[in-house]
């Protein structure tokens, strides 16, 4: 016999279901008056530093149909490459930028939209700089455990070419699934759950 490690098991994930809006964006689905505003609806204010950008996209299922009941959260560094988080030890992030946003996909068109700023570069574990990126987390009915992925920028070819995460993708054409379309200040990032264009999802 040996000592027991005594670790607990992570609580198992369950789908967010079709009514995720009730809990996470109640104002969006007509439940007014409980919360003043939906959390994560606004990431910036008029003092936020950096280049304003818009990121739009859809989450598309294996039959090519956009999900109209998904919910997306994003997390990113500020324009200087700092996270607005207690675990950020490298400096203080822009207090006028939350770094975190939440948006349901449209009930009619399936489109999500984030008004944010272009993130600065942050270091990989070995100190190399990663290319500017936005972390995405996707939940919906039919998704048993939230999907993590990243959006990179199409106008950062040099930085993308040396990004340690993109470099880990064995099939090179699949790395393109993590690069948004468009150009500053308007980007489009479609997430494909299945099929030839299936987005690279992360176990991270």
């Amino acid at each position: 016999m040996v000592q027991e490690l005594g670790y607990l098991k992570e609580t198992a994930s369950q789908t967010a279901g079709p009514y995720v809006h009730i809990g996470l964006t109640p104002n969006f689905c007509g439940i007014a008056g409980v919360y003043e505003a939906d959390l994560g609806a606004s990431m910036v204010n008029d003092k936020t530093l950096g280049q304003r950008i818009t990121v739009k996209g859809r989450v598309i299922d294996g039959a090519g149909m956009p999900l109209r009941d998904a919910l997306i959260e994003i997390w990113q560094a500020d324009a200087a490459g700092l996270y607005n988080s207690p675990s950020e030890m490298r400096g203080a992030a822009d207090p006028n930028f939350t770094g975190w946003g939440r948006c349901p996909t449209g009930a009619e068109d399936g489109v999500f939209t984030f008004e944010t700023v272009k993130p600065g570069r942050v270091p990989f574990k070995d100190g190399r700089l990663m290319a500017p990126h936005i972390t995405f987390w996707i939940v919906a009915r039919g998704i048993n455990i939230g999907l993590h992925t990243r959006m990179y920028f199409p106008d950062e070819a040099a930085a993308n070419a040396e990004d340690p995460l993109l470099a880990r993708i064995e099939h090179r054409h699949r790395a393109e699934t993590l690069v948004a379309a468009g150009a500053a200040p308007s980007y489009t990032f479609d997430i494909h759950l299945q099929g030839e264009k299936e987005t690279v999802f992360l176990d991270i």
């Binding site: 670790y7 607990l8 098991k9 992570e10 609580t11 198992a12 994930s13 369950q14 789908t15 279901g17 079709p18 009514y19 995720v20 809006h21 009730i22 809990g23 996470l24 109640p26 689905c29 439940i31 008056g33 409980v34 919360y35 003043e36 299922d61 294996g62 039959a63 999900l67 988080s85 207690p86 675990s87 030890m89 490298r90 770094g99 975190w100 009930a107 942050v122 270091p123 990989f124 574990k125 070995d126 100190g127 990663m130 990126h133 972390t135 919906a140 009915r141 039919g142 998704i143 048993n144 455990i145 995460l165 880990r168 699949r174 759950l193 299945q194 299936e198 999802f201 176990d203 991270i204």
Partner: protein, 249 residues
């Protein structure tokens, strides 16, 4: 988004997720997963600063009734219909450490099993005094609590006669974005749990049992509300033993 910081924040990467413990993406018994499940292998990578960090929310975002679903949508002087319950517990990590300042958001059907949502078509009645959402933030020991009514079971279109057992949805933020979790809490003694295709997406019975809140008789408030205890475990952080940190990240 500022957290009270009495201690130095932890900055280690998170324990790898046990993907055999969680439901796989493709679970044909839950039909909607068929076209919404990634088919390629996930790219596995140790967490970077982008996942080790995460938003932390202050108590200032909370309103007085945010953790009281019996009253937070009710007209003045009225309250939601149903069996009054308290749900409480702790948010811990896999090392058993409390997760303080964790934001919990919850949502549920009313006592008749009806959600307040325009896409909801179940014929059970809406309760004009029940919205169905609430939120709270854990204290320094990881404790949380809220008051609500016990939700009803309801039928859903999957098989011809599939019903969801009574459940409450939970969304939890820890301190790192990699800890982000959405799950569902079930109630001790409900025979419908084991018939549910969504519950049964989880392959390990022990993982399902971890989602079932026991009746907490000791904390039941006489002549008022029964208590259910639901502890939640988020991914643990690895110790930072000898890791090189050339950029101080």
């Amino acid at each position: 988004m500022s957290a009270r910081q009495n201690r130095k924040p932890k900055t280690g990467a998170f324990f790898q997720r046990d993907r055999d413990w969680h439901a796989p993406a493709f679970t044909p018994g839950y039909k909607t997963s068929v076209l919404r499940s990634p088919q390629q292998a996930l790219l596995s990578l140790d967490g970077t600063i982008s996942e080790i960090t995460g938003p932390v929310f202050g108590h200032s975002i909370l309103g007085e009734l945010d953790n009281d679903l019996i009253h937070n949508f009710a007209k003045p002087g009225e309250s939601a219909i149903g069996e009054r319950i308290i749900v409480h517990g702790r948010v811990l990590d896999e090392r058993g450490l409390p997760v303080r300042s964790a934001l919990l958001e919850f949502w549920q059907a009313n006592a008749g099993g009806r959600y307040r949502h325009k896409k909801e078509s179940y014929l059970a009645a809406l309760d004009p005094n029940f919205g169905g959402c609430g939120r709270t933030i854990t204290d320094d020991e990881g404790h949380y609590f809220f008051r609500t009514i016990r939700p009803g079971a309801y039928p859903w279109p999957n098989g011809v006669n599939d019903w969801r057992p009574a459940h409450i949805h939970f969304s939890i933020f820890g301190h790192g974005f990699a800890q982000r979790l959405i799950t569902q809490m079930y109630f001790e003694g409900d025979p419908m749990i084991w018939k549910c295709p969504i519950v049964n997406t989880i392959p390990d019975r022990r993982a399902i049992e971890q989602l079932i809140a026991p009746l907490d008789w000791a904390n039941t408030i006489p002549m008022d509300a029964r208590a259910y205890k639901f502890d939640i475990v988020l991914r643990g952080r690895r110790s930072t033993f000898f890791e090189n940190r050339p950029e101080g990240n």
